[in-house]
């Protein structure tokens, strides 16, 4: 029974008071560019998932609390939460630094975009 803390209302509670929404930071292509989305892009968006053994980033809703969605960084081996952060935000830098493999690639790419 994971112990989760909502970064919006700062309430801590059992995982059963929250709703888990799968991988974080999955962009919906149609929102930015409804035309010219390839079948491959659509598959990536709908099905292809980063599925790491170790640090993972996911979406969570404060389901029984304030009702707001947020992000969590969690180790899928130890279940330790490394950070909770806003639904429109990126993880804290020190957590991004710990990201490996596909997640590391993703964040480097995001950083480039921002600059």
């Amino acid at each position: 029974m994971l112990l989760v803390t909502c970064p919006v209302c700062h309430a801590s509670g059992d995982e059963t008071d929250f709703h888990f929404g799968g991988q974080a930071h999955v962009a919906r292509p149609a929102t930015s560019n409804p035309e010219g989305i390839s079948d491959e892009q659509q598959r990536e968006y709908l099905f292809t998932r980063i599925n790491p053994k170790g640090l993972h980033f996911e979406r969570v809703r404060c389901d029984r609390g304030c009702g707001k969605w947020f992000h969590a960084a969690r180790d899928t081996m130890t279940m330790e939460f490394k950070a909770f952060y806003g639904i429109t935000e990126l993880p804290p830098d020190h957590v991004i630094k710990q990201a490996k493999g596909a997640w590391a690639e993703y964040f480097t790419m995001r950083m480039k975009k921002q600059k």
Binding site: L3, H19, R28, E35, I37, L46, W69, I87
Partner: protein, 1006 residues
């Protein structure tokens, strides 16, 4: 010794000799004292056999003192209250208790199953993998049934459990698991520092095995010194002590499960309303594991005979229950600790001698034995045991480490054996959630190492066997734990504690005591008593290549019995290590899994059983429906009236009646369960355009529009009518099952994708009772309800709504229809729901109004070809599949699911399309889900081309109708297709459009 041979005249810290009680064991009345366990009382009565073993059905007696017991498993209670497989060493007796032994037939002393013991040579570990293969059918019909009957231990209860269970949540700074010396002192230290502490112990009284240790504390024996401290704990305001409670599991983030046996020991408590058992769900900031240690048996020939027990158990029987296992005892050991048992026995007047496998033990206790004149045979082992139903004698042989077989033996008469192969720290909790463990040579056992969570091990659980070290370790741990969680901990002054304890000599591992003839030549050296796993079985597994410790475990079933290897796993590893020349750490351990000891499913479920198993959601009219004889249809957690069956009426008759009253007169449906969501904001219209396949920004204020929703895969997920209350204000209706799902769905998109939208979403489903007043005479009924608004067809046309009053009722009335008739859905605040419903029924009485249920509704809508999400769609159905491509906007650039409709599979030809069906024989009703085939064959397999989604006898048309999803259906109009049914019958049906009734929709707009 007294006349009653095994109950000593004095002693027994747990029993109250002034309160006698009688219970029955296998139908025989047994006398005991308050505080006795079934084990102590039955042993006191002279009976040694408690059960039969799992595979060989060998007679077995008590081995342990508590939850580690693996042999003396009994069933307690009658009929629906029967509970099997309880450990006799844990079950506290009470007057009138009914207990029985298990896994024997016809009786304990004469058991047919014992034939297996004779055949044992032919059924080594894993034998069943090698045989029972021919002939094929025999496994299921012959071999397996025999095996199943022979296996299994006790029997299940009969009927529903009459007792109750509950859960209790608890949060604390420090949880201390185990109430022995270490646990009590750790808890005291933490509590004195100001922490909120919970101390949990599985026994009825605190103290652990302090009463069995040698140490003297401040001049008193450990137990006496400890008692006042233990009593004081109960009084501390920031301390909670749970007895008869076992911490059964340690889970992520220091979440612990504890199982309290509230009323098992005292029926009076149950009668007074107490739950039988309570499960504690505890979130602890820190955990201190003080779970003690479990003594190891020794593997010697026939070491499973009744009255061969652990040294600590023999000691405990005497000091706690004033019961001696016998009159002539042998203590067989490889360590100093068991010498204490010899002293206790001698003090109790029992003849005892010691067999010690070690050559030169040099501990204080060994010296004391010599001083007290107890015969000690060094460098010796027990090489044989005489007696089947009870120990009669043993053979003692000289022994050198690593010796394969013994040469010379001498016989010694005795009637019990107390054995000790050393102690294993009870580190199960440590390992449940990923704690690392390491092997300790001095213990010849594993002890806690590192752990990812905030948990500390102290005392014997940590491998610390000395009293003095345990005390300092425990107090330090308690204080550190408190400090780590408190902003400022109180400074507690350490009390002065002086400990005198004997110097211990080293333990020497003895994994296997040789016998005449090799271990693997018929001698049974048991490792796992309950599962009848012997040394020979373990070596066989190795020889056959089942080398991984997990393979050995699974192949031989070592450690898979109800004690989960508490007394057998390490001995097994020791044997494997010697057999393979590896070290025990190289062999490795199997995974420790919760629970520490088994606990009841009832306690796991808690209060949520019977009427509380899953909530039933009720509308405001629920009781009225019930009184009118409604039968129910579960929809999500709701219960909706399926049909109102009158006296002398069959369901199909009442359904027909309800349908016809809507078609010909007027009917009333409780539609309160439909989802209702208020959506408001400057971007509300644009937001809805993203959610629905069709357009809502063009909807006029005051009007209603039917909408379709897809998920992102392009498949239909929900539908319903949404009305525009104001320029930026909408009320969305969803399906009953979809209400919560869709509300969450809207929030998700607003919060996570279109965060720029200014839109508020507030679900209001439960605020409103909503009733569909439907039928040609609906308007007349509405008129009688004193509307304060115009209701003529012109003023109040189809797909519009009014907000106003019906008499004194504040209402919203929507002119929408799911029945194809003139229909008004009238919504009023739920508190007025029942009286509005009754008012409508009264107003409609003169028009012959009747209530109708969900089944009638389904037939009505099917006659009109309206789809039901979940019937006509199944999660892989697109709008075009159900002929609603027209409702998918071509103009809108983006809405949910739009892009997926472009995937090749979703737009390919030959997809299944929704069509209407008329069976050739009007009275034939196609079964739900029946499949049509491309070409009819006399037997399967046949190529299927689609299936029936809805099928009914239509009273309005006086014939059967159906809808189906058929490959290329819309191109097959007029074609007749075949549905081969079970039993060879074939139904043929003609494909037509989906609208069967009132095709031009005149009635809706009337």
């Amino acid at each position: 010794m007294t006349g009653k041979p095994y109950r000593l005249t004095e002693g027994g810290s747990r029993i109250d000799r002034n309160s006698r009680m009688t219970f029955s064991f296998d139908g025989r009345d047994v006398q005991g004292f308050a505080g006795d366990t079934v084990a102590s009382a039955v042993l006191a009565s002279g009976q040694k056999i408690f059960g039969r073993s799992f595979k060989y059905h060998r007679p077995r007696g008590v081995v342990g003192l508590g939850s580690e017991e693996m042999n003396a498993l009994i069933g307690v209670g009658a009929d629906a209250r029967h509970e099997p497989n309880l450990r006799a060493t844990q079950v506290e007796i009470f007057g009138g208790m009914v207990a029985e032994s298990q896994n024997r037939w016809p009786s304990l002393t004469y058991d047919m199953g014992a034939i297996n013991s004779k055949l044992s040579r032919f059924i080594p570990g894993g034998f069943y993998y090698k045989t029972f293969k021919w002939p094929q059918a025999f496994w299921k019909h012959v071999y397996e049934p025999i095996i199943r009957r022979a296996a299994g231990l006790g029997r299940a209860a009969t009927g529903c459990d009459p007792d109750t269970y509950e859960h209790m949540h608890l949060h604390c700074d420090v949880l201390v698991a185990g109430g022995g010396l270490a646990g009590i002192l750790a808890a005291e230290a933490a509590a004195k520092a100001g922490a909120r502490v919970v101390l949990i112990d599985e026994n009825p009284v605190l103290g652990g095995i302090a009463d069995l240790t040698a140490g003297m504390i401040n001049g008193e024996c450990a137990a006496d010194w400890l008692k006042p401290t233990a009593d004081a704990l109960q009084m501390m305001p920031n301390m909670r002590v749970l007895s008869r409670t076992t911490v059964v599991g340690h889970y992520h983030h220091n979440y612990l499960m504890a199982h309290e046996r509230v009323g098992d020991h005292d029926p009076a408590l149950l009668a007074a309303g107490a739950p039988r058992q309570r499960k504690w769900k505890i979130r602890a900031k820190r955990v201190i594991m003080a779970t003690g240690a479990i003594e190891r048996p020794i593997a010697f020939a026939n070491n499973d005979r009744p009255n061969i027990m652990l040294a600590s158990a023999a000691r405990g029987l005497i000091s706690r229950y004033g019961v001696s296992p016998g009159t002539q005892g042998i203590v067989f050991t490889n360590n100093d600790d068991a010498y204490l048992t010899a002293f206790a026995l001698q003090k109790a007047g029992v003849n005892v001698q010691i067999v010690d496998s070690r050559a030169r033990p040099d501990g204080d206790l060994v010296k004391r034995a010599q001083e007290e004149g107890i015969p000690v045979s060094l460098s010796s082992v027990i090489s044989a045991v005489a007696g089947t139903q009870a120990v009669r004698a043993v053979k003692i042989a000289a022994y050198r480490k690593g010796q394969g077989r013994v040469i010379t033996e001498r016989k010694v008469d005795c009637d019990f054996i107390a054995m000790s192969g050393g102690w294993n720290p009870a580190l199960h909790l440590w390992a449940h959630n990923g704690g690392k463990i390491r092997f300790d040579d001095s213990l010849q056992s594993f002890r806690p190492d590192t752990h990812p969570d905030a948990i500390t091990a102290v005392g014997a659980a940590n491998g610390t066997m000395s009293v003095a070290e345990t005390i300092s370790e425990a107090q330090a741990a308690g204080e550190v734990a408190a400090k780590s969680v408190l902003k400022k901990a109180k400074a507690a002054k350490p009390a002065k504690i002086e400990v005198k304890e004997p110097k211990r000599g080293a333990l020497e591992p003895l994994w296997f005591a040789p016998a005449t003839g090799h271990y693997n030549e018929g001698n049974k050296h048991f490792i796992d008593f309950q599962n009848d796993v012997t040394v020979a079985d373990l070596e066989l597994a190795q020889r056959e290549g089942y080398e991984s410790v997990e393979h050995t475990k699974r192949y031989t079933t070592l450690g898979m019995a109800t004690d989960q290897g508490k007394t057998s796993n390490l001995n097994g590893l020791g044997v494997l290590a010697e057999a393979t020349g590896k070290t025990i750490p190289e062999i490795g351990v199997t995974t420790f899994r919760p629970p520490y000891t088994p606990y009841s499913f009832g306690a796991i479920a808690g209060a949520l059983t019977n009427d509380l198993f899953l909530p039933v959601r009720r509308t405001a009219v629920f009781q009225w429906h019930t009184d009118q004889g409604a039968t129910w249809e579960p929809v999500g957690q709701w219960r909706r009236a399926y049909t109102y069956t009158g006296v002398g009426e069959e369901k199909h008759q009442s359904i027909t009646r309800e349908i016809l009253s809507v078609r010909n007169k007027v009917g009333l449906l409780d539609a309160s369960t439909l989802g209702k969501i208020e959506i408001k904001g400057p971007d509300a219209a644009e937001f809805l355009d993203r959610i629905y396949t069709n357009t809502f920004s063009t909807l006029k204020v005051g009007r209603c529009r039917y909408g379709l929703m897809m998920n992102e895969l392009g498949f239909l997920s929900d539908d319903g009518v949404t009305v525009r209350l104001g320029e930026d204000h909408f009320l969305m209706h969803t399906t009953s099952g979809g209400a919560d799902r869709i509300a969450a769905w809207l929030e998700e998109w607003l919060q996570t994708e279109w965060t720029q939208y200014k839109v508020f979403v507030t679900p209001v489903t439960e605020q409103w009772s909503q009733f569909a007043l439907a039928g040609p005479q609906a308007r007349e009924v509405l008129e009688k309800l004193e509307p304060d608004f115009e209701i003529t067809n012109e003023a109040f046309p189809h797909m519009s709504f009014k907000i106003g009053k019906l008499g004194g009722f504040p209402v919203r009335v929507y002119r929408i229809s799911f029945s194809g008739e003139l229909s008004y859905e009238i919504a009023a605040p739920a508190g007025y729901g029942l009286s509005l419903w009754q008012a409508i029924m009264e107003a409609g009485a003169e028009f012959g109004i009747g209530p109708y249920g969900t089944e009638a509704l389904h037939v009505l809508r099917a006659e009109k070809g309206y789809i039901v999400i979940g019937d006509e769609t199944d999660g892989t159905t697109t709008p075009d599949d159900v002929g609603m491509a027209g409702m998918v906007s071509k103009k809108k650039t983006d809405f949910l699911g739009k892009r997926s409709l472009e995937q090749s599979e979703l737009k390919r030809d030959g997809r299944k399309q929704l069509v209407g069906l008329l069976t050739e024989e009007p009275n034939d009703i196609l079964p739900d889900g029946a499949h049509a085939v491309a070409d009819l064959k006399d037997k399967p397999p046949m190529k299927m081309i689609g299936h029936v989604t809805s099928s009914y006898m239509s009273p309005s048309l006086g014939r059967s109708i159906a809808m189906a999803l058929i490959e290329n259906g819309r191109a097959r109009m007029g074609e007749t297709i075949a549905f081969p049914l079970a039993g060879g019958k074939v139904m043929k049906a003609k494909i037509i459009g989906t609208v069967f009734y009132d095709k031009d929709g005149g009635r809706i707009n009337a």
